[in-house]
Amino acid sequence: MEGRSPWYLAYRRLRRNRVALAFGALFLAIVLFVLAAPLWASRVADTGPNETHTTERVEVGGEQREVVNREGRPIGPLWLGAGGKFFLGADGRLGRDEMVRLMYGGRTSLLVGFLSTLIATLLATTLGLLAGYYRGWADTVISRSLDVIWAFPVTLLAIALGLALATGGLQIGPLELSSGSIWIPILIIAFVYTPYMARPIRGEVLALREKEFVEAAVAQGAGPLRVMFGELLPNLLSTLIVFFTLGVAQNMLLESMLSFLGVGVQAPNTSWGTMIGDGFELISTAPLLTVVPGTMILLTVLAINIVGDGLRDALDPKSKVRIEARTGIAERKGTAV
């Protein structure tokens, strides 16, 4: 019988999971949608995400209508009534195009979700490898520091950081960020998510380093770096992929909540979370301004979660990740079940 690599087997298992594939397609569709933002803005809506149209009028079926009326109410969805302008209406008193903002906002939401999880994954992998490989005092220092962040309720920590940095900006050594920088929410979310990943990774490294292949590598004269990154890291990949995927979902939700509270993404940048925050003020007169961006978050996060579950089932049929789950570590934030 022909030998097959574990990756190929995983791919075959994933291919059979129709639900995961369907939601994977939905996710790709959402990514294409937000990537098309500049195209829609320049070709169809003829405006940018931050351009205001407070005093302007728009022609709908031969009739001139105010973008924002005298009472400050924004125009509702025109769909294709004005050739795609104000497809979802205007966003409030400022009369910005909601559809254009939705597309650009999605870019920010996805960007923050991905970058923060990527940074957390890199940090957590490095810390987990160091702690698990060297053990001893390196492990003690790393694990205890992570425990402290861990003991902090995630949202409270993120909110405190978000508020302090949104009012004051950030300065640590050479790193200087102004208070409105998009990197502030990215770094905050990466920081609070790192312990959730580093702990299970450390556990896995502790188990892996006792295996024969590590002994074999050491016998061949491999140094610590080669053992960690050449031998242990490839064996962690399937876990990392699953954690990364589910982490993006988790972190997009955290970003939206911080932005809703005004301590995440700051103007002039916009994200789906800030859009809900803006829309909520008008919820009884223009509920769509809240409904639409929230639905986008729900669909995106749902798609990522289901693909993540599918990936885990495919990569790890016996579910190593689930062992962590039993102690309530990975489960705590719904990262893996």
Binding site: F152, G168, Q171, L253, R322, E331
Partner: protein
């Protein structure tokens, strides 16, 4: 046992100290602008900033600044410069509403989490299981503040099924208390129901392969009895631990739920302070919230060690 308790208490004390230092760093050291300016809030005047610098000792060395900040938080000296209010007084006033919200939500999520998880595991792989799994994943994927806003608009404003407005104390009118809290309870519980039902499901599936289950079946017990007395019971232990952790973490969700539903608790106070960029209340809420959670978890652990001596042994073995 006394050694375990002592160790756990010392551990908690160290964590509490570390947390207080982190909060100090977050608010007074990391931001690149003048902390006095940030503390003063949006309408800062030069006089106010100068008096805050004086009052908080912001030109003194950092350890001194740290002590001043902690003294302010713990002696009730902390005031919000936005509204000139006593912060700790406002937080205390909010306790009944926030506790009512959190306890009610916790009861709902435990009940439905266990129910859905049990049904899913018993019918694993079947249609009901797949439907419940889908419901659970959706629950986990919903932004809680958005769900609150949607419920508020469609169920309260449009259909008028629920009263809008603030918290009614339990002692004043129990029926109205529950009536006003029902929607916030459900909103806050939904995400947790998703998590708990999935955790319970996977725990139960693991437990079904254990020897004691085979023994129970071999004794001729009914399937129902095997499931409820043997599988479910043993799968509930990690759920209870998880509950200890999450109950404290609820405060984050309470901020947005109280904020959206306008429930007059600690969450709403925090929500308003965030919107106004008013630092002192958030500082206090973060410190007290984190302290509450750490102490709560320490108590849960100690109670656990009394109930299940293996926990203590596990601690020693680690």
């Amino acid at each position: 046992m006394a050694r375990f308790v002592a160790k756990r208490i010392v551990g908690a004390a160290v964590v509490l100290f570390a947390i207080s230092v982190i909060v100090f760093l977050i608010f007074n050291v990391i931001p690149s602008s003048d902390p006095a300016q940030n503390l003063a809030g949006k309408n800062a005047t030069p006089t106010l900033v100068a008096s805050i610098t004086e009052e908080w000792g912001l030109d003194e060395p950092l350890p001194q600044q740290y002590l001043t900040m902690m003294r302010k938080i713990f002696t009730g000296d902390l005031i919000s410069y936005e509204g000139r209010e006593d912060v700790n007084e406002r937080i205390l006033e909010g306790v009944p509403a926030t506790f009512s919200l959190c306890i009610g939500a916790a009861l709902i999520w435990m009940f439905f989490g266990i129910l859905f998880g049990y049904l899913s595991a018993v019918r694993a792989g079947g249609l009901l299981d797949r439907a419940l799994t889908m419901v659970a994943v959706t629950g986990i994927s919903i932004p809680v503040f958005w769900l609150a806003a949607i419920f508020l608009n469609y169920l309260t404003y449009q259909l008028e099924l629920f009263p809008s407005g603030t918290y009614v104390p339990l002692t004043e009118n129990p029926a109205e208390w529950a009536n006003h809290l029902f929607l916030p309870w459900v909103t806050l519980a939904i995400g947790f129901i998703g998590i708990y039902s999935r955790v319970l499901r996977s725990n139960m599936l693991d437990a079904m392969n254990e020897d004691y289950v085979r023994t129970a079946r071999a004794k001729g017990l009914s399937e129902h009895r095997v499931m409820s007395r043997h599988v479910l019971r043993n799968s509930l232990v990690p759920i209870v631990t998880l509950f200890g952790l999450d109950f404290g973490a609820l405060l984050g969700g309470a901020i947005v739920v109280e904020g959206v539903f306008n429930l007059d608790g600690i969450g709403l106070y925090t929500f308003e302070s965030l919107v106004n960029q008013d630092l002192p209340p958030v500082m206090a809420v973060v410190v007290f919230g984190a302290f509450f959670i750490v102490l709560f978890n320490a108590l849960v652990d100690i109670a656990y060690a009394f109930l299940d001596p293996r926990v203590k042994l596990g601690e020693a073995a680690r």
